[in-house]
Assembly symmetry: C2
Homo-oligomer: 432 residues x 2
């Protein structure tokens, strides 16, 4: 009964090393009672000479990925090189051979997901990607299987550990953005070029994948409104706290009949909520399903072993289906619902936090309030404190819900006032 399922790994970086470790050291535990044994038979990487601190049989290393893709004994291929090419071609060629693919490649999935899924479907092959979102948290499986009976109505995600670490340092230690970023880099939570994380693009890629899996909506990462945390000032964090809020970078998705609201940006969320309490490099997803209500999932979103754990779980699931000789095309993800379209950002409605930088003279607040009223925006609270050096003073304001379009017009008008001395800080508010 005991069949061997042979696995090849393309990409021996940090996560690749963790995967190799789990597959080599834990193969008997992973196979226990399942009727198959996993065997990692080949690893491809451009660099096969540098030691990774893990004992790999020399003969399984190769620099040629096609020695894995074209090996008819290998039935599951793990792609961990990241980026678009050659990863895309590798995966397509593998799926065309009817082999299972496990990938953590969020950039590729968020841009070419449909192509990959269709190729898998057409060839009766499996494509799994648990590790592409939230590392070790099995959020894809939760959506695809655990909550399958639900219509997912809403999703809030802290999907990027780097930005959450930075915002946590700013909130708890009153570090500036720059100091917190340097700390993150020193501790290995941020890359040397942190743009992808800081700008929110990494979170938007992940949101695109969650939209496909959870909402059945095919929305490319590039279409998702995305704003980073680079302009969050320490004073915004302090004003937010005073108002009872915490600033987080959230990925947000909501279903409004056949419109999908999807966006990534910093938000003020009420302090004391579970999401506001997600600290440091941790990730968290809050889901609302029409049957289950609200659920929250929390854990490490990155790192060698958490991510490797997700990859290996996918390998096992494909291995199980492989030895069962499943009917080819029946276990795929349902096709995307084409009626679902993205709500344009200018129609999104939220409350707002504004920080105006104005000259402290009579009538300024009245003028600002008048321009808000013109666009039908209504003020919920105002903080104005003592004068600061340089003659300007911050006025902080929270509004009631308004459309993005009205907000943009209002702020554009306000920023043209001669008394306004710097572009107004705008942060959206979410009453999670």
């Amino acid at each position: 009964m005991e069949r061997k399922v042979r696995v090849g790994l393309i990409g021996l970086g940090t996560v690749g090393r963790g995967v190799a470790r789990l597959l080599l050291e834990r193969s008997s535990k992973l196979s226990r009672g399942r009727g198959f044994t996993l065997q990692l038979v080949r690893i491809a990487d451009l660099d096969i000479t540098t030691s990774r601190g893990i004992d790999l049989p020399r003969e399984i290393l190769t620099t040629d990925a096609y020695r894995i893709i074209n090996d008819s004994d290998i039935s599951i291929v793990i792609e961990l090189i990241g980026g678009i090419e050659p990863a895309r071609t590798y995966i397509l060629r593998t799926l065309e051979k009817g082999k299972g693919v496990v990938t953590a490649n969020k950039a590729l999935l968020s841009q070419h997901g449909e192509e990959l899924l269709e190729t898998a479907q057409k060839n009766g092959a499996q494509l799994f990607f648990e590790a592409s979102v939230c590392g070790g948290i099995p959020i894809i499986r939760i959506l695809r299987e655990g909550l399958v009976a639900n219509r997912i109505e809403r999703l809030y995600g802290i999907l990027n550990g780097t930005t959450n670490y930075i915002l946590t340092r700013m909130t708890r230690e009153e570090s500036s953005f720059g100091e917190a970023l340097r700390q993150a880099q020193q501790r290995g939570y941020a890359e040397t070029d942190p743009t992808l994380d800081i700008s929110g693009q990494d979170a938007a890629q992940k949101l695109s994948i969650l939209l496909r899996v959870g909402f059945n909506a095919s929305i490319q990462m590039g279409d998702i409104f995305c704003e980073g945390i680079e302009n969050i000032a320490l004073q915004d964090i302090e004003y937010a706290r005073e108002l009872g809020y915490t600033i987080k970078l959230l990925a947000i998705a909501k279903r409004l009949d056949n419109r999908i609201e999807a966006r990534v940006h910093p938000v003020l969320i009420p302090s004391g909520t579970l999401l506001a309490d997600v600290k440091d490099e941790f990730n968290s997803v809050e889901l609302t399903g029409d049957a289950v209500g609200t659920q929250i999932f929390y854990g490490k979103g990155a790192g060698e072993m958490p991510t490797a754990s997700a990859v290996v779980a996918d390998v096992i699931e494909i291995a199980q289906q492989t030895i069962q000789k499943s009917l080819p095309t029946e276990n795929q993800m349902p096709p995307a619902d084409e009626r679902l379209t993205l709500l344009p950002m200018e129609e999104v409605e939220t409350p707002y936090y504004f920080r105006f930088t104005v000259i402290d003279e009579p009538g300024v607040l009245a003028e600002i309030a008048r321009l808000l009223a013109v666009e039908g925006m209504s003020i919920a609270s105002v903080i104005q404190k003592e004068r600061r050096q340089g003659g300007t003073v911050p006025i902080v304001m929270m509004t009631h819900r308004a459309r993005e379009r009205a907000m943009c017009r209002t702020i554009s008008n306000i920023d043209q006032l001669p008394v306004v001395k710097a572009p107004t800080q705008v942060i959206r508010v979410e009453e999670v």
Copy 2:
């Protein structure tokens, strides 16, 4: 390609109604892209005349469960009658026919789980039970599939919504236990006879299931140390708060080499942690895996639709395997690891919270401290306040870690002192 998978439901209570609703109203969505259609063809209940506020075709109702079990067109049977018999016999007969079974029956699983799993295994049948623990949170699937590459080291669970609701009311509104229980009953969170919940037995049943799935350990509910919340006084909650702790009823499991620590009782956990912030009737599970680190899952642990959502997810998974004509015995849960044995409670080590009720006279604290020292117990902090009416005074004490055996001897000695006027309150502490 479109095959019908016929489903029978035994037990049309609250959850049964939710399941019927999802299967009847959502069958096309649930089948989308899967190559099969689910069809609920028969429902058995002793009472088929009372209206459930759901439109059921008259002809699918029966009072005879065997019209489902013996119907060769039905390939999946959902058991939702609860209790040991006749549920056990129904499930065994169904599995013996090689049909899939979905159940939410925690009492049965925690007592006869191995018998059911073995029968499933022997007959190449599937037995799924996501709904038996934490309602809509897919914790069984997370453990069986999502975290399969991990060795689970530790689990903390708020597994019972009733007790969490009561403790929340006591903590937030300073209600007494009795008042909070009445509130829970009025709001439908507690049964008329709340013993199973209050005593911790419901949580112990669920812990037994999680031990089997997460730790591969076969430990019957009756062997798990279990203490309820009925003796938690409002003053304990207040002292705990003063010390920086919150009182929760936790299910706790830890792996110590081949010993498993498993227990259910009230604990003081640090305030401000995510577990301490789980409010009202919500459930939560905190897991630590050796690869993923610590993860937390949170959601509604009971109720018609959350639980029905879990049942239907299981039905879909079995249906998928049914149409794939899986090799019969390959997709089962691995057999329990027989080397794993339960650590006897007297060997468990924790810090403790004590509340002594003593006569306020000189030397009392010295005498108590002496008896603690005799058993090697070391004091971490003490609160002693003003005298109360009746001449007795509470002394509250937190200790460092000590063995349960030493604690029991110490408290037995202390409670024999003439100055001690009531049995000492003992609550264990967990530094989650």
